[in-house]
């Protein structure tokens, strides 16, 4: 029985249980619902939960345990000479047995008979759409048959067990229904547990991020020493040579980190003044009409996908800077030679800066608005102009919040991917000319992981080392931002 059919059956049993449970409770109530502890629906839900939850648990556990058991059984039956071989060869053999087993399931009885009679297994299975890498050895066919048998038995046992558990659970729960039975409390505790499980998904995600990246990164550091990665000044990973686990390339983080920070700094150079002034104007000067129009429009900038910014940088801003610089050079020296390249730190930083304006402005806007009226009134009453009030009173009061906002924006700038992939270039160089292309950590993660992957080569695994570096940097920036905001927050009340 297939998994979906089984799930459907369990669901049907659950629904029947729900209806039967509610009915029974209604009957017990004898027309007077105050005879019951809970409303009839809760009794139904109690039966329904007992019918479905244990059955699904059995299914999950079985689907994890059975393949492992079957796998080890089949491997245990390998001939001694195969068992003496390396793990990789055994994996290969097991993969082939799996393929044969799949093919045998598709084959007609005559074809199976032909295979038993020593026919060309490879040709027959190829006709079924199951290509084999090699002509299988005889023990493999026997093992494949055994595999199929065990799979069939396992599927049958699973169906029986799941249905038994579902029906049994429903019956048990049904029998326990009584007038004073506290069905609501039981059902609610199940709901509460599921709420807790849902909220721990956040924890699982973080744990998943850290563990998955750390394990792959550690794998990488066994091939390339950590100090060569963190302090290396040359990024030249070469291509992954098939089969060779050797380290032919150089994996220096410094040029990538430098590029990331440089482009991020250029972006912040545009975003912070513009965003801050925009926030000040919105909060202190703008009338409510202007504000209600301009603020959402400015925030549209944050809603535009970054790939659109990347494309804008690639086809509009980059060529514009290039042509502009050619004109400027032409006017100055007579030689129309552009000194800004189309893909450059400036282009990427500038476009990223535009994207970050709304992050700075809306975060700072909230913080500036939160400064109490009395501080403004005091300053204005002493004869300060509005700009003096802003510069001398409001900004100092809002400073921790603004610094926090800027740090959070900086972490966005560092983790930004699509703009730099399209506009910053791929050359990992250490230089300080903003008109030349540079590359970033995120660009290299994308570069190393697109195309064919082999999870054994340092060329691929380095992406995880880069990723965990990125994760740690942004995490530190965010935690530090929160820390600053909490520590220096003015207590106005």
């Amino acid at each position: 029985m297939s998994t979906s059919l089984l799930l459907l059956l369990v669901a049907i049993i659950g629904v029947i249980g729900y209806v039967a449970g509610s009915r029974r409770a209604s009957v017990l109530a004898n027309g007077k619902s105050s005879n019951l502890h809970s409303r009839p629906g809760y009794y139904g839900a109690y039966v329904g939960i007992w019918a479905t939850l244990p059955a699904i648990l059995v299914m999950v556990v079985w689907n994890i345990a059975a393949p492992t058991y079957i796998n080890s059984t089949v491997r245990g039956e390998f001939p001694a000479e195969v068992q003496a071989e390396s793990a990789a060869t055994q994996n290969l053999a097991y993969g082939m047995i799996g393929a044969i087993a799949r093919g045998l399931n598709l084959a007609t009885p005559e074809e199976v008979a032909a295979i038993d009679a020593g026919g060309d297994v490879r040709a027959i299975l190829a006709g079924k759409g199951v290509p084999l890498a090699d002509q299988p050895q005889p023990y493999m066919i026997a093992a494949a048959k055994h595999l199929n048998e065990m799979n069939a038995t396992s599927a049958m046992l699973l169906s029986v067990a799941v249905l038994l558990v579902a029906v049994g659970g429903a019956l048990l729960a049904y029998r326990s229904i009584a007038a004073r039975f506290r069905a609501r409390n039981r059902v609610e505790s199940v709901i509460l547990v599921s709420l807790i499980v849902a909220s721990s998904i956040a924890i699982f995600t973080t744990v998943g991020i850290v563990f998955s990246m750390a394990s792959e990164a550690i794998h990488f550091f066994t091939m390339v020493p950590a100090h060569e990665f963190f302090f290396g000044t040359v990024w030249d990973p070469r291509f992954a040579a098939a089969g060779s686990g050797g380290t032919s390339g150089q994996f220096g983080l410094i040029p990538l980190l430098l590029g990331t920070l440089y482009i991020g700094a250029v972006a912040m150079l545009f975003a912070v003044p513009i965003g801050l002034f925009a926030a000040i104007y919105m909060a202190e000067y703008a009338g409510s009409k202007f504000r209600s129009l301009a603020k959402p429009l400015l925030e549209v900038l944050a809603g535009i996908p970054t790939i659109v910014y990347g494309f804008f940088a690639l086809v509009t801003v980059g060529p514009f800077f290039r042509d502009l610089s050619a004109q400027m050079a032409g006017l100055a020296t007579g030689n129309y030679q552009s000194f800004i390249q189309a893909q450059s730190v400036l282009t990427a930083g500038f476009v990223m800066g535009i994207m970050l304006i709304p992050y700075v402005s809306s975060l700072s806007d909230d913080i500036i608005t939160a400064v109490p009226r009395s501080l403004r009134d005091g300053s204005l009453g002493l004869g300060a102009t509005r700009s003096e009030t802003i510069k001398k009173v409001i900004l100092p009061a809002a400073l921790p919040g603004i610094v926090g906002a800027i740090l959070m924006t900086a972490s966005r700038a560092i983790g930004e991917t699509m703009i730099v992939v399209l506009a910053a270039g791929v050359a990992a160089r250490m230089q300080l000319n903003p008109f030349e292309p540079m590359t970033t950590v995120t660009v290299k993660i994308v570069n190393q992981l697109t195309g064919d992957l082999e999870f054994t080569s340092p060329q691929t695994l380095v992406a995880f080392a880069l990723g965990i570096t990125l994760f740690v940097i942004t995490l530190c920036l965010n935690i530090y931002a929160l820390f600053i905001v909490r520590k220096y927050r003015e207590q106005y009340e």
Partner: protein, 439 residues
């Protein structure tokens, strides 16, 4: 002595009735400061305008496609010379349809079929996709063989660009992709009405193609749709459940503190890190197929969850405590209070947050690149496990193509994406306007 002292005092009173406190300078500074603020907002809005207008001006032409409508003679000799289609159906699949189309066009233009160079130029005016177009006609209805049918053929991408005026015809002929001869034919066909711009349905329906004139976002759109459904189905219930626990039930202890700090940090983790997580956990560890919409949907779900949780918690917080007190006072349990009263009242806010989170997920590209969704997918994915691609990824792939016609397609695809985002955000705003309650 007294004279010496009193003299300056008297003059001071006479010359400056008011002390100079630099009021002019200060007011000038005030005006400047104000102007900076206004300039900053103007600058931001200017760039919003530039961005949108640049994309629209480059992309609106993508919704028009140049077609050449000519009578095509499905000659038996060209398609099925030896009349073996009854015995060998493969024959109709492999026939040389481009030649059929080329001959038809040459006949209309009056080009000598023996002039090889000219014939090649004629063939170059038609898209390579005429092969599949004519093949589908013949295979669906073999009786057309031997007859002449009017067919609308796709013009080649370069002719399409030239017809739309995007190719500078003043450059020397050798430096551009369309020859003078082809331009002449193009004008001749346009005058006779055979060549004209039609509304481009292909960009909505087709899949990836190496030929810009036949490329579309239809396949990518289906991939995005699968992913959005997965994100919605998973992240809404999980996000709401998590928020309810944290907001309504969680005791203040270290564990819940940890969850809170975690969620805030997850909201700020770069999206590409989620891509690495998906690659390592879903593909490498769990063995799910690469390029599948299922994996993309799971990754985007994890990415969207913090957004939805933060929005939902804000919505739950906004429900006044008096509602809870009233429900509890009438004997409802804590769980009943939340599910019967608080949650329905918070629903508009939750849905608004969900839509905004979905809009973010729809535009996200970077994590999808890492889980192999940058595949050349020309066929519609039949299930979330089939190889598929997504709208923003399709934009990324087209942005890397060099041809002029692809710039137009890319911008067109961006316009489609932006329209979806605008619709989703408008929906969120309307929802908020319509159902938001002020307490």
């Amino acid at each position: 002595m007294s004279q010496v002292i009193s003299a300056p005092a008297a003059t001071a009173r006479a010359a400056t009735p008011r002390r100079d406190i630099g009021i002019k300078r200060r007011y000038a500074a005030e005006r400047r400061f104000r102007a900076y603020g206004l300039a900053a907002i103007t600058f931001g809005l200017l760039f919003l305008f530039l961005l949108v207008s640049s994309v629209v001006s480059k992309g609106y032409t993508a919704f028009e496609q140049t077609m050449i409508t000519i009578p095509v003679e499905f000659t038996e000799s060209a398609i099925d010379k030896d009349n073996e289609r009854a015995t060998n159906p493969q024959k109709l699949m492999t026939a040389n349809y481009p030649v059929v189309a080329r001959n038809a066009l040459a006949k209309v233009l009056g080009v000598d079929p023996n002039d090889r160079a000219s014939m090649r130029a004629v063939g170059g005016m038609l898209s390579d996709s005429v092969r599949t177009q004519l093949r589908n006609i013949v295979v669906n209805n073999p009786s057309v063989i031997g007859t002449t049918q009017p067919v609308s053929l796709l013009a080649h991408g370069d002719i399409d660009s030239a017809y739309k005026g995007q190719i500078d015809l003043s450059v020397p002929e050798t430096n551009r992709k369309v020859s003078d001869k082809q331009v002449g034919w193009m004008n001749q066909l346009a005058e006779s009405g055979a060549l004209a711009g039609h509304f481009n349905t292909g960009i909505f329906l087709n899949g990836a193609s190496s030929r810009p004139e036949a490329a579309g976002v239809g396949v990518a759109f289906i991939g995005s749709l699968y992913m959005m459904l997965i994100v919605l189905v998973l992240s809404l219930p999980i996000g709401v459940a998590a928020s309810i626990y944290l907001e309504e039930f969680a005791p203040k202890n270290r564990f819940t503190d940890l969850i809170e700090v975690n969620i805030n940090n997850l909201a700020a983790v770069p999206s590409i890190v989620y891509g690495l997580l998906g690659l390592a956990v879903f593909i490498n560890f769990a063995g799910l197929p690469r390029s599948a919409a299922l994996v993309g949907g799971l990754v985007l779900t994890l990415m969207t969850l913090p957004t939805i949780i933060i929005a939902t918690r804000a919505a739950l917080k906004a429900v006044p405590p008096s509602i809870r007190a009233a429900a509890l006072g009438l004997g409802a349990s804590k769980m009943q209070t939340v599910f019967h009263h608080v949650l329905p009242l918070a629903m508009p806010g939750i849905l608004t947050g969900t839509i905004i989170g979905l809009a973010h997920a729809l535009g996200e590209t970077a994590p999808l690149l890492l889980i192999g969704m940058v595949a050349f997918v020309a066929d519609f994915p039949g299930s979330p496990l089939a190889p598929s691609t997504a709208l923003p990824v399709q934009i990324y792939m087209w942005a890397n193509e060099a041809e002029r016609a692809f710039v137009e397609r890319t911008s067109g695809a961006i316009i489609i994406l932006l329209i979806f985002l605008v619709l989703m955000n408008l929906g969120a705003i309307l929802l908020r306007r319509r159902f938001e309650r002020r307490w």
